[in-house]
Structure formats: structure tokens, C-alpha cells
Subunit: 708 residues, 2 copies
């Protein structure tokens, strides 16, 4: 006997028999909408209203209970009070249901009692092998299957199914997005409101859409990343399937997170880390609703070119200039047109028109509508142009709007490159005519160009390689590091123990000796070679340099002896219960620069590493980059390269180039350490790590491991 | 006899008798439009078409020439071929005209021949004491005076005059802005298309609007800042009159500047400097057309609060979260509401609504439209809230749209704080109803919040103090510096001469001696005290350290002697024609950080100073700030404070605080130097200048003065 397979979203969406439990006779009420919507959608399976109060609901026979249904069901929609949900789930499972969509609110989003109810619901679902969407959600719609099980008023009229999949952690936002996309003629493939995500989460929906044949683009509204690794896997699957995922993430700020908490009962992850990891996974992150819509719209309508050379054709020179600047801001090139193309344009345009790119037809377009089509055709024929934006401004009732638009449509239809239109004009019928003619149209030039730039960036992102394995590669090494942490008794490890643990993984540190007396210190310094640094070594004392417990550049035995005495005295006075232990450390050779490496265990994403400019600049210049651990050498190199300070490693102002390769290697080592010891290590801070001239490696000068 | 006063824009706009030269019978043609527009506007003065071809134009008697007119004229509109314009100007002046609006193109924007024609036009105007708008412009409109002298089709229907003044260096962009603002119910006070700006420029128009009683807000489209100082004065006048100026500047990027050049024949100024100076002058700079419109719209409709505490009321929790994040991005606070306000909201909202701020009415608004008004009133009553944004999403045909909107309008009208509406909903009639009810409405939440943030920032900007005087404060000092430059023969001054000139103005530099032999070097080092630096001193050799011609930290006479010998040898080999001159310089004491100071002569703005993080970080971290010179101590402090690295000066990581005051003083001194010597000095680069611990001052370690 094999254990029954856990149903997938595919299984739920293949439902042929659906029960709506808590069915309402009023198609405007929550329990009435899915019945109304399902019938409007033309669902070809069987639909069973369940409500003990009615014999008939919206013209369908209504059943007093799930048990009383005439046949087994595949999927249930549940709109009964929160306390009854768990029991209803059991009944559904008994009638063969593979999943349930729970609209009911009053669960984790309302506090402790609700949290307990949600846990009960989760247990019931797991016990019965049922998948759950929600609770506190607005359902889902699988439009190519005519399955519309939502109560969002945005899904009342869905129009023809299309290629955009939407997933939202807020039903209202999901509805708003659906409604505004539909207004722009965009059809949806699927729509998910995931609610409290007791079971099915955003990541699973994205993974499903990545594998769905009808979906070409995914739009997502995210308030709470529950399982970051799963989300990264889903994004990798989407990237592998060449489906862009555009993501609007809210709760990025403290005040946003506070608002999100009152809204969904969830905490927002840390923003910089999350943003970096999502970007790394080729997600297209936006921060505005308008951008989410523009990006999804563009990606649903055109195949983005990977190189970003843009032709601009406008009837206003100024608008062309503004757009050329915006292109520059966004990294989109607006190449000057070759002489032959300019000659051709000169035969088309009036003498005062511009032929260079942006092309300016001037207001002469008022007198001759063919100018726009002929200019567009000339620019499309230029090999160095990958996409063309036609921007029409102030084409008001004095202009032959329909004829101008039809020219654009005619040429765009024949084109093999994307043609986008910007319509910043008073006559809205022009935009509608472009849209219905099949030319994607934007009312905001910047919004259009931001979407184009993001699409091009996405198209040129390499498909991610398989990440390195998660398991410890060398169990002995992991065991040894664990033993060091155990020996230190966990908590904050002192500098010496921290470096020892990291050294096991191949993070190089300055050579040092642990001593307890001035005489030992001098002996150690003699052995290491001068100059040396002398530091108190105690995990309990934070900010040692503030207490005068760190002394650098000691050049003689006498200096070492004197400073060791002084440090001992300071310890006795300020920290009487701290044992006098000192680190004698060989000073790093000159010519390097100070960087910082770190790792932390992110609540959503697990172990994450960081590299940045170190020393006194860490805090104020915030030139840091993050990546999920583990990572390979190539990813580590890319991370280092992404720093603003990266060119300093190549040798600035006549300095020698530095050992960036050794820095990348140390980063890979730290990442492996963070992964292997993720059950024990909360945080690692290597600051500074000195990057020496090329060939001389890197040296961790200070380090701190924080264990559980 | 007093010389006749040069007419001002006020004089032009007060015109009672206007001639249109090159008048057309077709009201759709350039020479026909102003006649049509002026009559539509209800102009109460006299209007004279001039064209030798017609006896009558659009129902008015037409005259063969200006000379033939029955009375003197105040203002002429000129639409005759470029070659005839100068002669026509003379004829107009002879008939008493104070100014002319020259529509005609074919001047500086078309190349050298056009440039010559434009110079001829400028000469004629100056000779006759005429003011010129244009050439190559689309005219002006002074709507409160019913004077509409444009041919922009956007001004065909201007609606009621209002409080927004628009100035544009592109007629097409100016028309687009006018048309899109009118669509949002915004009336204009004045509209200027300045064209090639042979005489009246953008700055003069802004200065005029600053003094115009009808104007409350100025919107400007800028491609080319001709006289930067004049623009700064105009902006200061607007700030003093409490009139915000919102500015969309194009040609910021290389590809934008190239496009602008092909459009107007003008070069774009350097972007970072321009942006910094405009920001300093309280201009609100935007980079998108949509932002320009949103900003002007908001400022025309509400008095911006200076503190940015925002209340958010929405019918979608998710939309509230997104907006709270956007507020955080923009520096707008969304304060949690006090307990009493939350208690009041709990009596209004359903249990699952959010009362904290953002306030979420939930979709319950569908059933009870009064929720929105009662929530809005509760939030408006909170003392800690300065403005409220009501965001309605997806209020579609299922909702009682009119009743919801009327609730918002009713409460907003009674409010003493600004109420803004965001309408991201499918039913456009709601937005229209809000607008006609007097509530400013935006279709994009981010656009609304960006405008609000900019308005608040503007309202809290202190009115600028009078800038320091431009003339040399101490003529002797200026003379002495000039003598040093003359002695060096101009061009690039060597390090020693550069520092000497700067020292005269009070920029402190490390103590140093200029020597020519190893023996002199040792004597100088003995006198200065060890350690010293030794450098070759020759203006001809750039990047001395790349040639091994800079040696730091020489601790003994023997080292100085050896290095002096070595430098001499290197010079002989690599630069045989450079005299062996060396600088012996006392090393700066430890504990400081390297900053950079600089000045440059900006083609548009004149002398400008810069301060930034120095050393190897200058180039890659680009942490620099600019200001117009001269500047006072307070402005210098603010400039230093604006750096990301500013906290480093306060002492980072247990380091002592540094002498930021001395740095500000050096900046003031350098600015004065740049102003006094602006006729000779092109550029100054003080890099690095070491900022020592507080009380110890700053020391310029290297410096370069580039003279003409």
C-alpha cells in the first residue's frame, strides 16, 4: 500500500464537482457570489450549494450538509463561521474532496484565539490530506477551465481568459489589479487570493503558474514571505520557464510593516536582504501599483528584447528629450540613427523635424498623418534599434486622430520588433484605438520606459544555475566547528574562538596567539614578528576599542610588555570579573583595504551572507550586498562586483590591484559555514577583513560568531 | 532727459493694441490662430491683422503694413519668414511697440545661418528698445487679461483663468502640460513658450510670475539654463513670495542633451551641479511629466502643511500598506492614531477593519457608504495628523459610487486640513465627481504621495537668506592671488603655487618648503620636523604618484636624502625638461579623515563649490555636494552635513569628533576665492584636505588651481 499522494494545486483546479458550503441565495453575498460567478464563467462540472436553511439556492437544489450530497466532491468552497470550519473540512474529506477554499475570516489575522482556530484548521486539513486556500481569502479563479471560485467583485466580469497569472496576499489588492488589467484589455489565466496561507502559500501559486501552459507572465502582491527558500525556488522555476514574475511587495518599511501586521497578522521580513534575494532570483520588484500594472501589461503584450536600444518617434521634440533622459536614467540606450536612416527620414519629415533619435515629426503631423507611419517604419528598419516607442502628445480634436492611430497600428502590425505607444494626449479615443489595434499603449512615458527597461533587464538575466547543495560537504569540518561552539558554551563567541571556527571553513585570519601574561605576550610577539596588535579577548566586552582595550602597531617587545600591563590594569578596574586573556596578533601588511563579511539567519530566507566596504565606512556609506547561502565562486564574484566600492579592489589612484578573488573565496567559505551550522549560528560579523594586494589573499582582523 | 526704461513683461502683457503680422485668414494656420484665440478669449483691446495679401482677415480689416496701421501699437505678433523679421521689428518699434512675439522659426535652432539671423534680430530689438519673446516660440497667454497670443492648439479652449503659471522651453511640451492640467480642472494664469530666448528667457518669466498677483504656483519645462544666476534669483523671488516652482528639466543625460541640441540648438548644463543649485533655491525638481502635473495640481489645490504627518483612509488594507511604505520611502510619517481616535473608529468600522492608520474601512463600504465619511472625520480630528489621503480602490458598479464620493466631499469641505483623494478604481465617474466636488483626486497613489511629500518639503524649506555679496571683500587679497597666478604664467599652477594662492584666502595647507637639492630637502625636513612627505613639484606632471614622484612618511634625514636623490633621478629619466623642484611637506598628524574640496566655473551658474569624501573614495562612492559660490558659514555647514559621510566627522566607532567647523570655514574661503578670481580661475581641486580632530583644524595636503 502506498501513502496517498498529497493533492497539488493542479488537482484542485481540475475539480469537476464543487460544493459551496454556507451557500447564499443572494448572488451579491459572499456565500452567493461563487455560485453566481461559476455559472457566469460557464463551468461545465457539477455545482452543489450546501446550506441547511434552504432547499434551493439561485435556482439550484441546495443540500443540508456535505454528507447529503448526491456524489463525491473534488473541491469545497467554505463560507461558514470560523468555529465550524474544521468540522466542515472533515465532512468534505469524507466525501472525497482534495481541497477547500476557506473564505471565512476570524483566524490568525484577529489575534490569539483566531490563531488557535487556524491551527485547528491546519491540523484537520493535514489529517484528512486536504489542501487549503485561505482562510480569510477571496478564493481563486482558473479561467481557462471556467472555474471562478472567488467572491471578489473584480471577477464579476472577467472577459476572455488570457496569459497573466495574478497572486495576491490581499484580496482587495488582487481584485484591484485584476480590474485595472482587464480595463487595459489584459486577460487573466489564474487569480489567487491566498489569505492567511494556512497551507497553500504565494510561493506554491507562483510555482504552479510557472508550470501552467496558459500563463506567460505572473503578477504578485506580497505582504509576507513565509518560506523564503520556497519562494526562491518558485522564482527559479518561473525563470527557467521564461516567465517573468513582477512583484509588488508591501510592508517594506516599519510603518508599512505595522500596517501589514494589522491587516494580515504577519511580520515583514527585513527589506534589504529580501530585495537582494528576490532580485537575484530574477524577480522584477516594483514599489508602485502603476508600475506593477505597466510591467505586467508590457510583458503580456510583447516579447522583451534583451538589448535595450530604443528608438523614439514623437510629435514633440521636448517629449523626445524627456524620454531620452528617462532612458538614460534607466540604462536604456537611445542610439543615434545611422546616416542612411537619417537621410530617409529627411525625405519624410519637414526641415525643422529631428532625424537623429528621438525622431520628431513636429506638429506637421497635424497636416500630414502619414508622417508618423513613415517615420516609425524608417526607425524600425534600423538594425541597431531593438524596440520603438511612439509617443504622441496633445493629439487633440484638431488632429485626424483615427488616421494617425491607424498609421501606427498598420506599421506596428507589420513589425518584427516591439512597438509601444505613449499617449499623453487629451483625446482618450486615440489610446483606445491603439489598444484595440493591438499596440500596447501607456498614458505615462516614464511608466512605459520603466516597464521596458525592467523587461529588457529580465530578458538579459542569465537563467540561474542550480544552487550549491545545502548539506554539509565535509561533515568532519562541521563537527569540529560545532565542537568549538560547544566548548565556548554557545552565545557570543570571543574573537579567538570565532576566528578559529571560521578558519576551519577556510576564512583566513591574521596569525595570533592567546596569552594571559605580559611575558607570554612578548614571547608571542617575538614569535609572530613585529609590529603586532594587542587586544583584550573576552566575548562579554562589546566595543573594546571604546574601552582602550585594543592597541595597534606595537613595534617593540618593550611596547608589548607595557601595553599588556596597561590592558591588564584596565580590565581589573573596569571588568573585575573578566579573566585577563589577550590576543597578540600580527598586523596585516600595508596596502590593503578594509572590507566586511557577515552572515545572518533570516527568519524567512535562512542563512544569508553579506559583503561590503568595511572599517569606519560600513555604517554610514552602507555599501553592502546580500546573497542567499550557500553560493558558488561565480556568484560570490558577482556579489563583490556589485558594490559601489568594487573598483577600489582593482587598484585606484595608482594603487596595486587587490586580491578580490581571495575575498570571493572567503565569502564562499563563510556562506558554507553559515549553511552547515545554521542550527547553531545566528550571526557572523567579520569586520574588518583586509583585502591585500593581489596574490597575498585576505586576512580577517576581527570576527564575531553569535551562536544560539 | 532720462533714457527710456526698458519695457518689462508687465508692459507687454498690458497691451491694449496688438498687431498680428503675417496674419492668416485660416484660423487653423499659425498666422490665423492668435487672431482666433484672442477673440475667443474676449480681448477688450484692439486687434490689427497685417498682411499685404488681404483686405480682410477673419472678419477684421487687414492692413498692408505696420506703417499703415490706424494707431500706434503696444505689442506685435510676428509670423513672417525669418529673413524679414528684423525689418518688421524696426517698423513695429516705429509704431510704438514695446515688444514682439516672434513665432517664426529658422533661427539659432537650425545652425550657423540661423544663428546669424538671430543675432541680427537681437541687435534690432536692442537698438529699438523692444522686448522679444522667441523666436521659434508658440507665444504667450495672459488669461486674466484675456490676452491669448499663442498658436498652441492646447490653448484653443483655456477654460476659466486660474492660479498656475506655465513656462516652457518647448511649445509642444508647454501645450501638453496646459492641456493635461485643464483636463484636471486647473486654470492657468499665464502660459509662456520662450522658444530660442533671444531676449526674454525662462528666468525672467519665472520672476514675472513670482510677482504676479494671480499666480500661486509655477510649472516650468527647462531644456537649457542660459543664465543660471538669474534663474536662481528668480527662484529666490518665487520662494520669497511663497510660490512653489515645479520644474521638469530635460537634457540631463548625454543622450537627452544630444536630443535637446537637435531640438533647440542649446547645450545642457552639467546635471549634478544644476540639480544641487536648483534644490538649494527651493525649486521642486521632477523628472517625469506625470510628476510635474501631479505636483502642480496638488499645489494649486491645497496649501501644503510643513510637517508631513499623513492620515490614510482606504477601503483596502493592502492599498493602505502600500501607501504607508511609499510614505516611508518619501519621508512622510504615517503616525499611529491615539487610543481615543481608535476607540472612535471602532464604533464606526466593522470588527475586521483597521483603526491604527492606515484606516481600513474594508469592503463593508459596499454595504454602508457612511463608513468613509465617518472614518475620514475621525482621522481629520486627530491633532497629530496634518493631511489625509482617502484612497478608494475598485469601487466599481456594485458600489453606491455617488454616495461614497459625496460623503468624502462633504467631510473634506468642512475640513481645515488638506484632504486628497486617490481613485484607483474602475468607475471613472467617481474621480470626476470628487474633482467637481472640490477634492483633489489622483489616479495613482504614489504620484499623489510624491506630490504631497514635495509640497511638504517645500513648505518647510526656510526662505533663503540674502546671499553673501559678489564683489571682492578684500581687494588686496584678490590682487595678491592674481599676482601669484600671473607669476605662474596662468594655466595649471603647480602644487606649491596653488596652495600659496589658496592660503591667501584662508584655506589651510600642510606646512611645506620648496627645495631643489637633496641637501635643501634635508634642511627643510629638519626645520619642519619628521615625518615628512617629499614630492616632485611641477604643474606639467599629472598623476605624480603613478610615476613614483610622491613619497610619504619619511622619518629620518637619511631617508629624505635618499628619496630626494631618487626623485631627481626619476625626473631626469622620465621628464628631462622638467626642473628638479621638490616639496618637503610636514605629514598631517594621524586621526583625521580625507575629504575633498573643489570649485569650478559652471558655464550657466558661474563659480560653484564642491565638498565630498576624499582620498581613494572620491571617484567611486561619489559622495559629493555642490553649492553656488559665495556661501556663508551656515550654508557651508549645511553642505557638509548633507554628505552621506557626514556622521564620520562626528567621530565614528570610538574615534574622536573631527573639526567639521574648520572644514566649513575652508569651504567658505575657497568659495570666496572662486568668486573673486572667477575671471582667471577655471577650477580648483583640493584633494585631499585632511580634517583633523576637533580644535586642530584642516590641512590641504594637495591642491591644484587651473587658471585661464
Amino acid at each position: 500500500v502506498t501513502a496517498p499522494r498529497t493533492p497539488s494545486l493542479d488537482d484542485l483546479i481540475a475539480a469537476r464537482a464543487v460544493a459551496v458550503i454556507g451557500a447564499s441565495r443572494d448572488p451579491g453575498r459572499i456565500g452567493g457570489r461563487p455560485i453566481d460567478f461559476l455559472r457566469r464563467a460557464g463551468f461545465e462540472g457539477r455545482l452543489y450549494p450546501v446550506n441547511a436553511k434552504y432547499a434551493e439556492v439561485q435556482g439550484l437544489p441546495c443540500y443540508p450538509s456535505v454528507t447529503a450530497l448526491p456524489e463525491p466532491i473534488d473541491l469545497a468552497v467554505i463560507a461558514v463561521p470560523a468555529k465550524e470550519v474544521a468540522a466542515v473540512l472533515g465532512a468534505c474529506a469524507a466525501r472525497g474532496a482534495k481541497g477547500a477554499i476557506v473564505y471565512t475570516s476570524g483566524f490568525a489575522e484577529t489575534g490569539q484565539d483566531g490563531q488557535a482556530l487556524q491551527e485547528e484548521l491546519t491540523r484537520a486539513a493535514r489529517e484528512h490530506g486536504l489542501r487549503i486556500i485561505g482562510p480569510n481569502c477571496q478564493g481563486l479563479a482558473a479561467l481557462h477551465r471556467r472555474l471562478n471560485l472567488s467572491f471578489s467583485s473584480a471577477l464579476l466580469d472577467t472577459g476572455a481568459p488570457g496569459s497573466v497569472g495574478l497572486v495576491a496576499q490581499s484580496g482587495a489588492v488582487g481584485g484591484m489589479l485584476a480590474s485595472l488589467l482587464q480595463e487595459r484589455g489584459i486577460g487573466l489565466s489564474h487569480w489567487f487570493s491566498t489569505g492567511n496561507e494556512a497551507d497553500v502559500d504565494l510561493a506554491e501559486c507562483i510555482e504552479f503558474l510557472a508550470g501552467d501552459a496558459a500563463t506567460r507572465v505572473v503578477g504578485a502582491y506580497v505582504e509576507n514571505v513565509r518560506d523564503g527558500r520556497r519562494l526562491l525556488r518558485a522564482l527559479a522555476a518561473a525563470r527557467a520557464a521564461a516567465k517573468p514574475v513582477v512583484l509588488l511587495r508591501a510592508g517594506r518599511s516599519a510603518q508599512g510593516a505595522r500596517a501589514a501586521a494589522s491587516h494580515t497578522g504577519a511580520l515583514a521580513g527585513r527589506n534589504a536582504v529580501t530585495a537582494a534575494l528576490l532580485r537575484d532570483a530574477a524577480a522584477i520588484e516594483v514599489t508602485e501599483i502603476g508600475d506593477l500594472l505597466d510591467h505586467v501589461y508590457l510583458l503580456a503584450r510583447v516579447a522583451p528584447p534583451s538589448s535595450p536600444r530604443v528608438g523614439i518617434v514623437s510629435n514633440s521634440g521636448g517629449l523626445g528629450v524627456i524620454m531620452a533622459d528617462t532612458c538614460a536614467d534607466l540604462g536604456l540606450e537611445v542610439p543615434p540613427l545611422p546616416a542612411a536612416a537619417q537621410d530617409r527620414l529627411r525625405t519624410v519629415l519637414p526641415a525643422f523635424g529631428a532625424t537623429g533619435n528621438p525622431v520628431d515629426t513636429t506638429a506637421q503631423l497635424l497636416a500630414d498623418h502619414s508622417l508618423i507611419g513613415r517615420s516609425l517604419a524608417a526607425v524600425l528598419d534600423v538594425a541597431d534599434v531593438d524596440a520603438v516607442v511612439v509617443a504622441l502628445s496633445m493629439v487633440n480634436r484638431l488632429y485626424p486622430v483615427a488616421r494617425i492611430v491607424d498609421e501606427v497600428v498598420r506599421v506596428a502590425r507589420a513589425a518584427t520588433k516591439p512597438v509601444l505607444a505613449v499617449w499623453t494626449a487629451a483625446a482618450p479615443e486615440g489610446a483606445e484605438r491603439l489598444q484595440s489595434g493591438g499596440v500596447p499603449v501607456f498614458t505615462d512615458a516614464s511608466g512605459c520606459l520603466r516597464a521596458l527597461a525592467a523587461a529588457c533587464r529580465w530578458a538579459s538575466t542569465p537563467r540561474p544555475a542550480a544552487p550549491p547543495s545545502d548539506g554539509p560537504l565535509e561533515p568532519d569540518r562541521a563537527r569540529a566547528a560545532r565542537a568549538l561552539i560547544d566548548a565556548a558554551g554557545g552565545g557570543v563567541l570571543d574573537e579567538h574562538a570565532s576566528k578559529s571556527a571560521l578558519r576551519l571553513y577556510g576564512v583566513p585570519a591574521a596569525e595570533e596567539r592567546l596569552v594571559t601574561t605580559a611575558a607570554e605576550a612578548v614571547a608571542a610577539a617575538d614569535a609572530l614578528g613585529y609590529p603586532v596588535a594587542l587586544k583584550a579577548c573576552a566575548s562579554r566586552i562589546a566595543h573594546k576599542s571604546d574601552h582602550g582595550l585594543v592597541r595597534l602597531g606595537l613595534g617593540t617587545a618593550a611596547a608589548v610588555a607595557a601595553v599588556a600591563g596597561d590592558l591588564g590594569e584596565r580590565l581589573r578596574v573596569s571588568f573585575p570579573d573578566v579573566a585577563a586573556r589577550f590576543l597578540v596578533q600580527r598586523m596585516a601588511p600595508p596596502g590593503g583595504i578594509e572590507m566586511v563579511l557577515g552572515s545572518q539567519r533570516d527568519p524567512a530566507f535562512g542563512p544569508v551572507v553579506m559583503v561590503g566596504l568595511g572599517g569606519i565606512f560600513v555604517e554610514h556609506l552602507r555599501d553592502v550586498a546580500f546573497a542567499a547561502a550557500p553560493l558558488d565562486r561565480e556568484a560570490a564574484r558577482r556579489l563583490v562586483q556589485s558594490l559601489r566600492a568594487a573598483p577600489l579592489l582593482q587598484g585606484a589612484r595608482g594603487r596595486p590591484p587587490l586580491d578580490d578573488e581571495a575575498l570571493a573565496e572567503a565569502l564562499v567559505a563563510l556562506a558554507r559555514f553559515a549553511v552547515d551550522l545554521q542550527d547553531r549560528v545566528r550571526e557572523v560579523d567579520v569586520n574588518p577583513i583586509v583585502v591585500l594586494p593581489r596574490g597575498q589573499g585576505v586576512l580577517a582582523v576581527d570576527a564575531l560568531v553569535v551562536a544560539d
